[in-house]
Subunit: 140 residues, 2 copies
DNA sequence: GCTGCTACTCTCCATGGGGAAGTAGGCACT
DNA sequence: AGTGCCTACTTCCCCATGGAGAGTAGCAGC
């Protein structure tokens, strides 16, 4: 079935346009634009001061402690989906009790920069946002 | 009105861990790590090809069209919260019918880079994620 | 045998988000 | 005059999502 050139052009234009609800990249964007995902990536990405080399493996319980406020359900769910998407690896060590560690893959590491950027932005612009919020609420 | 259990939990949580839970940037991070926020910022940030100068004002209906799949409720809600946080401005022009335009502020522009990065990442790494997903599902 | 530890898994329930219909208010057409 | 339409919401209903807390598996130590 010969695809028409118009259809091809149409497809090329539509290819991976995250604005389109049907595009798979939109679903991916929806998934990574999630607070727990960003937080997990930040945690596994290492300490704030360090560069890319700061990445390290963390155990389930370490992650749970670090991301205070996350429910076990959401943590497990988030980790599973990130594992499925190849952003991190899940390693079970048959010690007693069992030890499960999570570590970023190269793919995860490439997103880690953005996640860290989000966190840095939040910290850096906290004051401005707070000021804007106060001003906005005042003239309400 | 007894001391609500929610308040107690809130306090206990606050005294828990300083790394991510109590950090003031955490609430902000939660807000900006939202799919609609990222999408709105991307849309207002301008076209993909353009640099920072690509930013432009969009009308409510233009945004709704661009972010296929967003409900009016969520769009309004997202825009209002972004306005409150000083990331964008809402301008009502008393034409007939009324025209409401939204435009990024400098603060919003500074986040726009990250939002655009997220979208670009999703589009660029789509194939890898799809491959990882396929491989993962296969060995299930 | 009982407890404790880890990493979940399950169950219940409040909340949040989607869909669709309603609202305001002014012009344009009949 | 009345009907309708346009934009930018707002409101209502309903269901999926997410949080809280309890339960589970498997083994070591007491």
């Amino acid at each position: 079935m010969a695809t028409t050139r118009a259809a091809q052009r149409e497809q090329a234009k539509a290819a991976y346009d995250a604005f389109l609800a049907v595009c798979p990249s939109r679903q991916l964007l929806d998934r990574i634009s999630d607070k727990w995902v960003v937080l997990v990536l930040c945690a596994l990405g290492g300490v704030e001061g360090g560069p890319e080399g700061g990445a390290r493996a963390l155990r389930y319980s370490e992650l749970a402690r670090r991301l205070a406020g996350v429910s076990q359900k959401m943590l497990t769910q988030t980790l599973r989906s990130l594992e499925r998407d190849g952003l991190l690896t899940r390693t079970v060590t048959p010690t007693v009790p069992v030890t499960v560690t999570y570590e970023l893959t190269d793919l995860g590491l490439s997103l880690n920069g953005l996640a860290r950027g989000m966190r840095a932005w939040a910290q850096d612009h906290m004051d401005e946002v707070l000021a804007a919020r106060a001003e906005h609420d005042e003239r309400a």
